[in-house]
Symmetry: C2
Subunit: 327 residues, 2 copies
């Protein structure tokens, strides 16, 4: 069963960015990021008792919305930076590598030794340098600091770098532009970068809407953090939604504590079922994290009854040899 944590709205927190940053990011991303399509499915609508609009960021360049934040952040690097650096085992790595190539600057990626070969191949193909480290957050951060000291590169973080958060928000800005009369937007929450960007996008748009987040029930630290008004780390949760294994970031904490309408939790079986429905009914190869909003709706139908709900399909990078419902 899923649970809903109502979040206390605390106005007046000083943020490092506002809605104008999302509008500026949208201008910079024009012609760079794909304006991804919005798909609907009568059969999923029937199943949910709501009207769902899926913003297809799994069809974004590099296969996830992270290209948006990575590119915009790279265009905003300090002048003295000699390239960009990041640690990532997933979508952020590919996004940074492509963003750097598009801006014609060097990229340095720190990746854990156990990163799948296909991931390395993508990053290398974009011409980024890779440094491998032990698969712990501590080792990743220490290695990244060394690389920066050595090369003079500046770090772009997917949810602590303000420009990255603003860039992510452009996905929701486009969704609000394209679909009239949305009642809310639902996004998965890991570090909270996309949810934060969505909140800023909603503020930037004439037809601002409520933004709701969904995190894995096995690791409900984001909801706890927001409820207790202090940040709790999550300890590498064992969730299908492997894109969401980060703890809520400091910057997202500040933004979401002020403006997120609610944070829902999705149970693992519900994530699996929702992911399969996205493949079967919407015919889209979406990651488990991308299925979190649909999972939350299916587990909380009365709450969404009759509403028009925007959903960001965050990514589609998945190992087709290891589908979670096979074997």
């Amino acid at each position: 069963m899923s649970q809903i944590a109502e979040v206390v709205v605390r106005p007046g927190v000083n943020l490092e960015l506002d809605e104008n940053d999302v509008l500026e990011a949208a201008r910079r991303l024009t012609g760079i990021a794909h304006r991804t399509p919005v798909l609907t499915s009568a059969s999923l609508d029937d199943l949910c008792g709501a009207r769902l609009f899926f913003k297809c960021e799994h069809l974004q360049r590099t296969g996830s919305f992270k290209l948006r934040g990575a590119y915009y952040a790279v265009t905003r690097l300090p002048h003295e930076a000699r390239g960009v650096a990041a640690h990532s085992s997933g979508n952020h790595a590919a996004a940074i590598a492509l963003a750097a190539r598009l801006c014609d600057i060097p990229a340095h990626l720190v990746m854990p030794r156990d990163v799948p070969r296909s991931r390395r191949a993508v990053v290398s193909a974009y011409g980024a340098a890779i440094t491998y480290c032990e698969p712990t957050l501590q080792a990743r951060e220490a290695t990244l600091a060394e690389i920066c000291a050595l090369t003079g590169a500046a770090v772009v973080h997917p949810f602590e770098t303000p420009a990255a958060v603003a860039g992510h928000g452009t996905a929701v800005l486009e969704l609000l532009d394209e679909v009239e009369g949305l009642d809310m937007v639902l996004v998965p929450v890991g570090g909270g970068g996309l949810a934060s960007g969505a909140v800023l996008a909603s503020m930037a748009h004439d037809q601002g809407v409520r933004v709701l987040g969904v995190e894995p029930l096995v690791s409900p630290e984001a909801a706890k953090s927001l409820r207790l008004e202090r940040m709790l780390p999550s300890a590498d949760p064992d969730t299908l939604a492997d894109g969401l294994r980060s703890s809520l970031g400091r910057l997202p904490f500040a933004i979401l504590a002020r403006s997120l309408s609610a944070l829902l939790q999705a149970e693992e079986n519900a994530i699996l079922r929702a992911m399969r429905l996205l493949w079967e009914r919407l015919k889209q190869v979406a990651e488990p994290a991308a299925a979190m909003p649909l999972a939350a709706i299916l587990e909380n139908k009365p709450r969404f009854k009759g509403l028009r709900v925007g959903i960001v399909l965050t990514g589609g990078n998945i190992d087709l040899d290891r589908l979670p419902w096979v074997g």
Copy 2:
């Protein structure tokens, strides 16, 4: 390896339909069939050395282009018909069931006993009556004749009924409307209904293009038939592309003999590889038959070098528990 059979163009064959039928079908399908999106992939373009435009008919209602032909044919049934009847184990069955429901007439489907449960469920959900028979073409046709005699329903065949062929062509008409300067359109060939509709659509459009077909190499009877100028049956070929197990129809034979630019063959491993690429790079859940054009391009790259190629992704109905690359 794939092979190419150049087809002799024989002008002057009398057809039962022409390009105006496609235009009329397009008018009747407005607001009924989805205007499906066209997707592109820089990574697939690089791989192929061509610009590919994928018309997403797997996102059509019922998950395949067949809804187009089924619906238009149902609107053109003789006044005395008491409902519609068809035999099908696949996409045509779902298409006829939905078309009949939309037109508020009875539908009678003859399906082989061994049809997957999920297929039955879809057809039943649309309110169609199902009669089961032995899984042979002979039994299917005999049972269908009985049902028609009993009920007064009229048969709609997916590639022998002229209006169905005209309806299928509307998918290609939309593709030509949306993408300028296509050099050719590539479609899979089983019974030949879509290829025939594509030829008519090309004739109907200002920017008419060459239409090329692709059939499974394990069963190259369509190419042989066209080359020998007489129809050869294919004996239930064992191909991954299970949507293409029909022999070329009489009506398609007449149309394609006159107007198809070429018929290519795709080898089974190439089909599997292409299907996987559609899932991995385009993030689309497409059937094996839908992967035939990409397979043919990958096996014949020099022929397509630098060209702008339209491809119809014909359907996306596949058992996610039995993916061809798993197990």
